[in-house]
């Protein structure tokens, strides 16, 4: 579980990148919900925390693949693989991500 930032430091419609390996992007959508996915687009090499957030979709800033933040699944090309999603919780006003361990790797 990794602390990200204070809740008030992530306004609606904004995102923040957490420098884990690999990095994670945390988003607050316009309705206030928090989501976290791997930050690197599964298509090539772009940071999704720099993308365009609309509802629950994040559009990649390089070739415009869009991903559903709830599932990590791409909703259009050129991405063809899903992002890993991570659980987000708020404890005492601080946002935390729970890093999902990649399948097949030791915890």
């Amino acid at each position: 579980m990794i602390p990200v930032c204070r809740q008030e430091d992530l306004p609606e419609g904004e995102s923040v990148r957490v420098d884990t390996a690999p990095p994670i992007a945390v988003f607050r959508t316009d309705d206030g919900s928090l989501y976290a996915v791997d930050d690197t687009c599964t298509h090539q090499d772009a940071s999704l925390s720099e993308g365009w957030l609309e509802g629950c979709l994040i559009e990649c800033p390089l070739h415009a693949a869009a991903f559903d933040l709830r599932t990590g699944v791409p909703t259009c090309l050129p991405a063809r693989h899903a992002l890993r999603t991570h659980l987000v919780t708020v404890e005492e006003g601080v946002i935390h991500v729970h890093v999902t361990v990649r399948e097949g790797t030791a915890a």
């Binding site: 090539q44 940071s47 720099e50 993308g51 365009w52 559009e59 800033p61 390089l62 070739h63 090309l77």
Partner: protein, 386 residues
């Protein structure tokens, strides 16, 4: 339509195949490609593939599962050599003829050759160059300072080679970016320790033992272990000579990618759509949607007006440009800053303005405001055309 043939099995061809199926075409689909490889992505060839950061499996545009779903016949490693529009047949190099009701031309472009120099257009080109570059530090001369030349130079420098870039024009990328921002891109070479010589052309290449002598118009000669030419691309239209299609720096089509024959459309680098030929990844992926709609309808229904967009990765910087620059546009840096004629540490966003409106944007390492500005441009175009 019972049979549709796509000639060119790369980016635009694959997107056309996907669109045909997505738009409900359930007839026979044949894809002809002269390269032996299944569709792969070219942009990484001069970037992560050359430096070894991405392997061949990262280049694949599709997989066996998707190809099975597309239910197409893939004729790979065979070149189309002719088109008979009256008889509706595509002639193949191996003597076969394909009868077809509809045709998508997606034959792209090929690197303008320079005998004695490597070019970088295909996977085979990139494999050959990558093999040479892993032989240890060498003197590399890159001819051409455009996007491909600059990316290749950056990759060679990253691999530890001694690199010189030659550019015949006074600045690289002048027609695309204008003088101010072209100068900023030139600074990237200088900062990386790559020598950059402008304003002189190459008059010839000579083999001198294991090295190559590059003769310049100003009388100088450079010695190189590896010479790479990035001097532009030529649309692959030669196979259409003798057909009734109008050719001239590409296959001429209307705004909806439709040629003078309603059953023939052209997409991607080979297509001159409404007078403009774009050599960009995004156009090659966007045009097939309208082209396929029009092909299936038998007339031009869809005419997209996309905002041109391209990106380039050089010397660790990501350059993104959208819109169209014209000489006389005013350029203003609106975010970040320039430092010593190059991008500052946090990159920058520059707006190109004409008569008080933004007509293009350029960003170096500023993806988020760039995306916003690019979308604004897209909305402005929509409003102007509806």
């Amino acid at each position: 339509m019972r049979t549709v043939t796509i000639v060119g099995a790369s980016l635009a061809g694959l997107y056309a195949a996907r669109e045909l199926r997505a738009q409900g075409y359930d007839g026979r689909l044949v894809v002809v490609g002269d390269e032996p490889h299944p569709p792969y992505d070219r942009p990484p060839l001069s970037k992560d593939f050359l430096t070894g950061r991405a392997d061949e499996d990262r280049l694949a545009l599709t997989d066996a599962e998707e190809r099975a779903g597309l239910d197409a016949e893939w004729l790979l490693g065979v070149r189309a050599r002719g088109l008979d529009t009256a008889a509706r047949t595509v002639l193949l190099e191996d003597g076969r003829t394909l009868a077809t009701d509809g045709l998508v031309i997606a034959t792209g472009a090929k690197a303008r050759p320079l005998p004695g120099a490597h070019t970088l257009r295909t996977l085979d080109d990139a494999r050959a160059l990558r093999a040479r570059l892993t032989e240890g530090p060498q003197q590399v001369v890159v001819i051409g300072g455009g996007f491909i030349g600059a990316e290749t130079a950056a990759s060679c420098a990253a691999l530890g080679h001694d690199v010189t870039v030659l550019e015949a024009a006074p600045l690289p990328l002048l027609p695309q970016l204008g003088p101010q921002m072209a100068a900023v891109c030139a600074t990237l070479h200088r900062r990386a320790g790559v020598r950059f010589r402008t304003g002189t052309g190459v008059t010839g290449l000579r083999r001198t033992g294991p090295a190559t002598a590059v003769d310049l118009a100003d009388g100088h000669t450079l010695s190189a272990d590896i010479v790479i030419a990035g001097i532009g691309a030529v649309p692959n239209t030669a196979w259409l000579a003798g057909s009734t299609l109008a050719l001239g720096d590409g296959v001429l089509c209307d705004e909806g990618c439709v040629t003078a024959s309603p059953q023939v459309v052209a997409v991607g680098d080979v297509a001159r759509v409404g007078g403009v030929r774009a050599e960009h990844w995004t156009s090659a992926t966007e045009q097939p949607r309208a082209a396929v709609t029009n092909l299936l309808a038998g007339r031009t229904l869809a005419t997209p007006h996309p905002v041109p967009y391209f990106w380039s990765d050089q010397y660790g910087s990501r350059i993104q440009f959208a819109g169209r620059y014209r000489p006389g546009d005013t350029v203003r840096v609106t975010e970040g800053e320039l430092l010593d004629e190059g991008p500052g540490d946090d990159g920058f966003l520059a707006r190109y303005e004409r008569d008080g409106t933004t007509v293009a944007v350029l960003a170096v390492d500023r993806p988020r405001p760039f995306t916003r500005a690019r979308r604004e441009l897209g909305r402005a175009v929509e409003t102007a055309t509806t």
